[in-house]
Amino acid sequence: MTLAAARVLSSLTILALMTASSAVRAQEGETSEVSKMEPPKPEWVFVRGGFGSEGTSIYDTKTGKMKGMVNTSASSDMALDPTGKFYYVSETIWTKGNRGTRQDMVAVYDAIDLKLQADINIPDRLLVGERKQNFIISDDGKWGFVYNMSPASSVNVVDLTKRKFVKAIELPGCAALMPNPAVGFSALCSDGSLATVTVGGAKPVITHSAPFFSATGDPIFENFQYDKAKQQTVMMSYTGLIYTATLGATPTVAQPYSIQAAAGYAAADTKPLAVDWYPGGRQPMALHRPSGELYVLMHMGEYWSHKAAGEEIWVLDTTSRKVVRRFPLKIPAAHIEVTQGAEPMIFLNEEEGGNGIILDGKTGKEEHKIERAGGGMAYTMPAS
């Protein structure tokens, strides 16, 4: 309650007592309070409302209960502060809703009281159905990188410590950002290369790896998984090829392998008129970093079905390169995320009905069903 509001309440109480003093035994009355959050926990999952919806609900995967909500506006991108102190929302708001003056900013929310701390103005950002890779935070929590396309491609660099925009870096032909602690960030490019951007110097330096994938033939899902401890990114293509990039000033990408082959099938390919198990969905995979197990939404279909919801979860051990568990789903899911503790919990957004489902990552057993959990992207706190 604000001070002004408290004053209103107290003066009204006096007036109320003047006119209605006998009507209420005031000593019984409760006061209104406001809850506080704990710092973000590994067992929490953050679930966006979905396209056009506001709000990111926070659930405890152990209990299935809602803990709170981050104020994310429609078409915003949220990022979790690796240090657990803040929630960041890069967003675009017009002064009159769908008209007026455009404002692009990174809003800073305190992780404990969930109150707005600051709006950091930035020049511009891309509006798109939710993407984690369009707003990333450096591992130390000091830098934010906001992808922009207007329609030329660039990245806004934000100093989160000073809470100010620093500069925009042109990044032609590339998108889908990942942290690269050595230098700044890396990104996937339409020529099939990985771009690496050195941010620190007077002028940004952009280098490209040799092309290693086909951006139009067998694209890599933007929903790749960055592993801070290993400084690696696990990526997957539409056909199910798994690529592992080791980051640094000059990233290297290992030879890919097929998730279908890892499950004992022939590798899938891009040919028409062939049916296979393919990965798909709007958030098709999640890496449990401590174990190196990759949870992938898989469906049967033909090529170019990469948005189809998953009918099974395949758990790929990225060390042995074997699919070690398969969990059939009662209702197909388009989003998957996994918690990063020792006992991983899977969060799924069911495609029909709008329920969120929490499964035990080891057994696939359904532990909780959350009605209207939110239809969008799910996040978990990276391992610290």
Partner: protein
Amino acid sequence: MKKFDADGLGESLLRGFAGRTSRRSLLSKLGLALVAAPAFPLLPVSRANAAKPDRSPEGKTAFARAAQTKDDTECNYWRYCAIDGALCSCCGGGIHSCPAGAQPSPVSWVGTCINPDDGKAYLIAYRDCCGKPLCNHCFCDNADRETQIYTPQLNNDIIWCFGTDSMQYHCSTAVLVGAAQ
């Protein structure tokens, strides 16, 4: 954002009290903020053609007969007899607590609900928690003694976020004010 103008409201109330506004309309204005008073028993209602409804604890509504006192995340929890919205108890808050980052409205609509444990009627202030997007859980719409906007303190469709930093509706609480007489 327009802040709730405490001084302005006080002035308006005093003007009303001193001047041309009748006691009825003063009470009507006051009622908006009478979270500490049962608003409708105070209204000097003129009844043209209806018998006085039984408002005693014995005159239980369908809601009251089915109400329970154990689980405040269910729509039939006894205090929710006139609530409309998402239960803050399902959103990270509690029966009289807003979820983190939301702000309780200092003014509210009110209900008179019967506690099945003691059979008595209590005055409940339904304080909206404001300033966050809609919490998408536990939607309830109970309407015991709920009326229309011309009796605003008894209407549960109004966004009761007056005096908060933001008027965005997040969820609703049910604050026990005291026993109704």
